[in-house]
């Protein structure tokens, strides 16, 4: 099955673009990013802080079953236009990856479909390539976990 998500990562550039079309009105797509309790559901993380305004900041935290924090990220919100776009920085804490700049654009296609464009700019080409490698490894992990779940069901 073809994936609805497209990733554009040109060689030698310090940016990537991720696009995805949704069977959702743009209001609902935007809401999924703007409302903390919904973000928590699909991102699987705790939203410590999400100030959706210029000069606002955000902070996410994920814990494992034992309550140990395994992932922390934060950033500043530079622009927030409901149902259209927002711009933020993203920094993973306790990780050597640096800070990235993220532009989110929300576009209405029809009354019931919409499109998200994420444009992410990294500090350097090397930093971008490193994030792609990590994404690769994590994606690999998730693919295996999914496979494992399916296999377990067959048992």
């Amino acid at each position: 099955m073809e994936l609805k998500t497209k990733i554009h990562a040109e060689d030698g550039k310090q940016e990537i673009t991720i696009t995805r079309e949704f069977d959702l009105p743009v209001e609902l797509l935007f809401k999924a990013y703007a409302e903390p309790e919904i973000v928590e559901q699909w991102m699987g993380t705790k939203v410590v802080k999400l100030e959706n305004r210029k000069h606002g900041s955000w902070q996410f935290q994920t814990s494992d079953a034992a309550g140990k924090v395994v992932f922390e990220a934060n950033g500043t919100i530079h622009e927030f236009v409901p149902e259209q776009r927002f711009t933020r920085t993203f920094e993973m804490e306790n990780a050597p990856f640096g800070i990235q700049l993220e532009f989110f654009d929300f576009e209405k296609l029809t009354d019931n479909t919409s499109k998200l464009t994420m444009h992410i700019v990294y500090k350097s080409v090397a930093a971008r390539d490193q994030m792609l490698q990590i994404g690769f490894a994590q994606g690999l992990n998730m693919a295996h976990n999914r496979l494992q779940t399916i296999v377990d069901k067959l048992k």
Partner: protein, 107 residues
């Protein structure tokens, strides 16, 4: 004759995948890698050996230390490099879509 290692067998093991995730962020020595696991050091060494034999990891001598890093060329062979990353995002977005569709119908 040296046993030819199967790449897919190599990545089927959760510890070896965890090693790949670790090394993806930076080149590391065997000691630094082992310190991330509760497993005994020789076990980690064995995993590193398998990952190196199937060329997913490459060794690089730096002074007296040997650093392990990902061999992107080999990884590109298993799958298009970006494909798992794309799949990860696609899954995440699918979840978003499902949640919001339920949200819509609740209203």
């Amino acid at each position: 004759m040296k046993l030819r290692r199967d790449v897919f067998q190599a990545i089927a093991d959760p510890t070896r995948r965890a090693i790949l995730v670790l090394v993806a962020s930076q080149a590391m020595t065997a000691g630094a890698i082992a310190s991330n696991f509760d497993t005994a050091r020789p076990t980690v060494s064995k995993h590193l050996q398998i990952l190196t034999e199937c060329e997913l990891l490459q060794q690089e001598q730096n002074g007296r230390e040997i650093f392990y890093h990902l061999n992107l060329k080999k990884i590109k062979e298993i799958a298009d490099f970006i494909e798992p990353f794309r799949k990860m995002w696609d899954d995440r977005f699918n979840k978003l879509e499902n949640i919001m569709q339920q949200y819509k119908s609740k209203k």
